[in-house]
Amino acid sequence: MMNCCFCFDRQGLNPIAFVLLIVACHLPDHFTVMAQEVERESKHRENYIQIAAETIPIRYEDESLSRQLRDLIAADLADVAAYVQKFELEELKEPVRLALNLEDRVTHVTHRLRLGKALEWYPAAIEQSFGLLCKKGDVIYFIITKSLSNTYIRFLDDNRENQEVLLGARSSLKTFLDTINRPDLLRDIIKDETRTKKLFYFHGGGRWTHFSYYQENIAALQQLTYRYPSIFAFSLQIGSGKEEPGNTVVFCRPVITSKTDPDYYDTYPPLAYSNGNWYICVSNLP
């Protein structure tokens, strides 16, 4: 991932800068172009989404979307599509007319992806709008409806004032996930009480009194995988935990799957980002 030390105006409510930063921070290295260069690129460079080994060209119903926003949406959807192992096409009984005739005479939504249980991994905000397709002959197009792109725009707009902390959190999440998703690293960490305890953030309650509680959870964690999340999995809150009272904390609710049970998925416990570090969030439950 590239370094995300762009300058931007905190008070200036600059959504384009925010989008650029998110895109830049998120995209793989071969996409790491400078923001200015991205601006100059054609809107018509094709986006694709890869779903279960199929590479599908994307068409945007809102053709006025900027290049940057297109890239952001495509990259974010790619993240949540990355774990789909298989899918089926479901033909709609009645094709849904799009607002505009898009490139390649894409005029209707004719099919949708049937993802089964995997769909439950998707954030509610995009669940219904994800996987709409237009099939023309042998070619399938992945349609990003205006409703879906507007959902992204609203999210970015809602979080504009917290872009700095959100960006910092998002950019460092992958490193944290790379740690907690690797059983070999966890087996190493669990031997060290200090390192083990540093993986947990206690929100609304005190720390556990017995080290065995930490160990048992680390043992369970070795069987699980936190999936890299969509941006919709992020939310901000003022921390009320004993550790970080009053601090702005970023919470993230990725999908958690099991390394041994293909039917298991979960979204609890969430992760928490505070003072530049990610943790597994321990809530004071009833």
């Binding site: 509610a124 309650g205 979960d266 416990p269 439950l285 009833p286």
Partner: protein, 453 residues
């Protein structure tokens, strides 16, 4: 009039044919909607000449909006009507017939009578039930006078179809809503609210009064129909497991400001229903409860840990959770204690009231409950969240509580309003286990306390 404390009257006037002596008779009722007192001084309407008599065929008032149907006047039931309700009945002809009288026929079960009959104002007493009260004007020269049906109406969300609030809390952000329902998500994404109405008397149909009902959802103004359409609530199709759509429905009569009943509607996921049913079925074996330690009957002085530091084993954790009546999982409990983990991985929670020291709450929604999975188990299918907390949230939703767990579910976003069948079922599987108690300052019986660090 006897009922002078009541909202006074507006006019609803009836001219009826009563033969020779009666050329016209006016009956005016209190405003069926507001009960306000202004006499609007109505004029005869829709009259036709028939020889010497004047036939009057329509109940009317000067304010034509108040004329709903001929010969019928509606008024919302009010329990204060038992004290008396004024009916204005005015004979407009002169000379007045000497043997003129009013005859009241109340509905079955009502002992309503005419009080202070007169040719100008009549007061009825003991209007004690919704129903059709027939008021007839008679005199010796007419066999039967015109009859006016005074329909004392009660419209409400049917108590047999919706849940009545049985939980209140100072922090409640919708205290005026006394009823709720939980409705399984349906693919039509529509809910006909009139199906939940009860209209009394039963002789009156919904269509009789439909034009006078106003429906509003989430204060979004008047609805065009009784259909609650929840399709546009959600960009994500149906609610997922543990998710709901919730609405506040206001039912008004006459005008939008006259709210006569309110209802919280919770649309829950079909997955919630099946998951809770499966959980309930799977958790019939309660032998694990035997591992849980005795509870302390009170907290220590100043609401501190009642367990002495030298107890071995130390069954309960030292920290007292200060719930302060604002952790809505336990409704209005003030303090909580948690046990250490038992050998089977279970846990115990005890909740205390706001006494000093806090006294244990042994039953009800505020009591602490047994935990199949100790609270410290946060990861995996057998986590405390999955086996204890989520089923509680499902049960709340199935009972009609408009509550979802937030991202960090340390607390519920609002207090519960109904403790119903599903929450009772939950508590049958995760009961407050408070029969065996130990007093503050003593150690738990080591024969029973087998928690381990």
């Amino acid at each position: 009039m006897k009922n002078g404390k009541k909202n006074a009257m507006r006019s609803m006037i009836l001219l009826c044919s009563l033969g020779f002596w009666f050329s016209a008779l006016q009956i005016a009722l209190s405003d069926p909607i507001t009960g306000s007192a202004a006499d609007k001084g109505g004029q005869p309407a829709n009259t036709k000449s028939d020889g010497n008599a004047t036939q009057v065929n329509k109940v009317y008032a000067k304010n034509e909006d108040e004329v709903w149907q001929e010969d019928k006047v509606y008024r919302l039931f009010d329990t204060a009507f038992t004290d008396g309700v004024a009916i204005k009945a005015e004979l407009t002809t002169t000379p007045k017939p000497p043997d003129f009288e009013w005859i009241l026929t109340p509905p079955t079960g009502s002992g309503a009578t005419i009080d202070s009959p007169g040719d100008l104002i009549t007061s009825l007493t003991d209007i004690d039930v919704p129903g059709i009260y027939k008021l007839q004007a008679r005199c010796s020269t007419a066999d039967e006078g015109k009859t006016l049906s005074i329909i004392i109406l009660k419209v409400e969300f049917d108590p047999t179809k919706v849940n009545a609030r049985n939980l209140t809390h100072a922090d409640d952000n919708f205290p005026a809503y006394m009823k709720c329902i939980a409705v399984r998500y349906n693919e039509s994404e529509k809910l006909d609210l009139k199906d939940y109405l009860k209209i009394s008397p039963p002789d009156i149909s919904f269509s009789d009064i439909n034009n006078h009902l106003f429906w509003s959802v989430d204060n979004q103004g008047k609805m065009n129909s009784t259909i609650l359409d929840y399709s546009d609530n959600d960009e994500a199709g149906q609610p997922d497991l543990g998710e709901i759509f919730d609405y506040r429905v206001d039912l008004s009569f006459g005008d939008a400001s006259n709210v006569i009943d309110r209802l919280i509607v919770v649309i829950y996921s079909p997955d919630t229903e099946s998951s809770f049913a499966n959980w309930y079925a799977d958790n019939y074996d309660l032998t694990w409860l035997g591992e849980l330690p005795d509870v302390y009957s009170t907290l220590g002085s100043s609401n501190t840990d009642p367990e002495p530091a030298n107890c071995d084993p130390d069954c309960w954790e030292n920290d007292i959770d200060v719930l302060g009546g604002t952790n809505y999982y336990h409704h209005d409990a003030s303090f909580g204690m948690r046990s250490d983990k038992t050998p089977g991985g279970h846990g115990h929670q005890a909740c205390y009231d706001n006494s000093t020291p806090g006294k244990i709450i042994t039953s009800g929604i505020s009591a602490g409950t047994a935990d199949r999975s100790h609270y410290s188990k946060i990861l995996g299918a057998d986590s405390h969240m999955n086996v204890d907390v989520k089923p509680f949230i499902w049960a709340m939703q199935l009972d009609g509580n408009p509550i979802e767990a937030p991202t960090v579910p340390t607390n519920l976003p609002r207090p519960m309003m109904h403790f119903g069948l599903s929450l009772n079922r939950y508590l049958s599987r995760r009961p407050p286990r408070t029969a065996s108690q130990v007093t503050a300052g003593n150690c738990c019986d080591t024969a029973y306390c087998n928690t381990h660090p």
